[in-house]
Amino acid sequence: MDLYGLKLFEALEKLDNKEISAEELTSSCLKRIREVDPSVRALVSVCTEMALERARMIDDKRAKGEPLGRLRGIPGIIKDCISTKDVLSTASSKMLYNYVPVFDAHVVENLERDDYVLIAKANMDEFAMGSSTENSAFHPTNNPWNLNTVPGGSSGGSAACVAADEAIFALGSDTGGSIRQPAAFCGVVGVKPTYGTVSRYGLMSFASSLDQIGPITKDVRDAALLMNIISGTDERDSTSARMDYPDYLDGIENDIKGKKIGIPKEYLAQEMDNDIRSSYDKCISLLESAGAQLVEISLPTFDYALSAYYIISSAEVASNLARYDGIRYGFRARKYEDLSQMYKNTRSEGFGDEVKRRVILGNYVLSSGYYDAYYLKALKVRTLIKNDFKKHFDSIDAIISPVTPTTAFEHGSKATPLDMYVSDLFTVPVNIAGLTAMSIPAGISGKGMPIGVQIIADAFKENKMFNIAYNLEGMLGFNQKPAIKESPND
């Protein structure tokens, strides 16, 4: 088997046994990128030389018997809204087309300390706004399973590159589903940690009360290991949870006899593809066969999460994107006559339409006369949604739901922004309610496209979520890989 096809723990074993070297593993992924990325287009930049140098350095450390980190030579790809020192970080926006950070994000520092190898930066929807990666200022990404379809978004590049074996793992970010939805569309595992678990220092902000960085991997255990590495209190992020962090691998293999898992009835009342519904039903049966107790629960406010989300996240992003002014870094317009024009021209040329739309919407809902009716109302609804979920977690361990109402759709098939927004229906409530959730591959549709299933747990209860996901993954036995065509018309 080509080395690039390995999962994380498999690769670690081979590295430790000296069956393979870090350089060989990195080279294999780089070769894979050269082979398939012209078709998949998951990446913004590739760090070939830097990666090989780093891999060699790790092999050197190993040869000398020096201590090595938990990743010791594993190649990873990082979403382009996460700052990597001396490596172009663009958030897939023209606004940052030439931005090279002078610092590493907290998560990158942690990965470095544990000896990962950065091989590339992943494409995304511009500034994380979107569900298809079609909003990238550079180019769209193609779903490896069918190049005519989208990989999802906004972490479309991160999910696609793992599905295509361009790296052993990737990092994405999730504000309303941006890790879980692409993970489902691409047939890989994606985790949105509880807000506060992973430091946002070095993550280009979209919505400050919702954003979280998370791992995208080939299986559940890989994701849990990465959670151990990227999580933790960071003094530089005042929203980073000050608490003791668990070992996310702890108890992951325990059986799930007696675990209470909620079936959210309002979720199931929504329209979704038949394949997705049957895949979900199959998951329910498997969980029951493993001794879990499936109970129907009601989340009457779940349907309002989408509206609350688009108000809150737009308001927050309007504020967060005010910093892009063409002065200290990034793009600046060539023509302007005064400061105000410089700001307007820079931002209008530097931002794409979806970004502009949300910034305008955000300022609208925050403006006097509308603040109470929209923003304040949305914040109150957020409380209701949070309470609705919390109520159940007193008596259940997790909730299981579909991730998306459809499988990956074709490029250009969403006629309006609103059409795109409503596909986030199942994922958004998790961010709004401050919970944790993950998507694992559950099956393949009649048309050969991956279907995901979502496991939701209460805030800071990732271990419960990983345990159930690990068991379900074992029973599902999903091991398909996409057969990547050379071009969409093959």
């Binding site: 108000i311 870094y329 600046r332 929209y374 409380t383």
Partner: protein
């Protein structure tokens, strides 16, 4: 909630954005549709409900006011500047 082209222009100006004349109607339509959709929230009674501005329980995260060593040199902080001169960022005249 009706949105006019004028509303879009006003909000764009507040956001320090220009919207192309040719795109104004499209923006207006999309914004109106989104605002219509989110009106759904009015179906919920939020009387007496506290707004959630922040999802975690922790608050008032402070640190000691102790000066730390600056990890970054001036040059690296200025190197991304679109327009610079010496140690300064160059901007259009601010005061007439």
């Amino acid at each position: 909630m009706k949105v006019t082209v004028d509303d879009v222009k006003k909000m764009a100006a507040l956001s320090m954005l220009n919207i192309d004349e040719s795109k104004l109607e499209e923006f207006r339509k999309n914004l109106e549709a989104i605002l219509e959709h989110v009106m759904k929230l009015n179906e919920l009674d939020t009387e007496g409900i506290e707004p959630t501005t922040y999802i975690l329980d922790q608050k008032n995260i402070f640190r000691e006011d102790i000066p730390e060593e600056n990890k970054f040199d001036k040059e690296s902080l200025l190197k991304n500047a679109p327009k610079r001169e010496g140690d300064s960022f160059i901007v259009p005249r601010v005061i007439e």
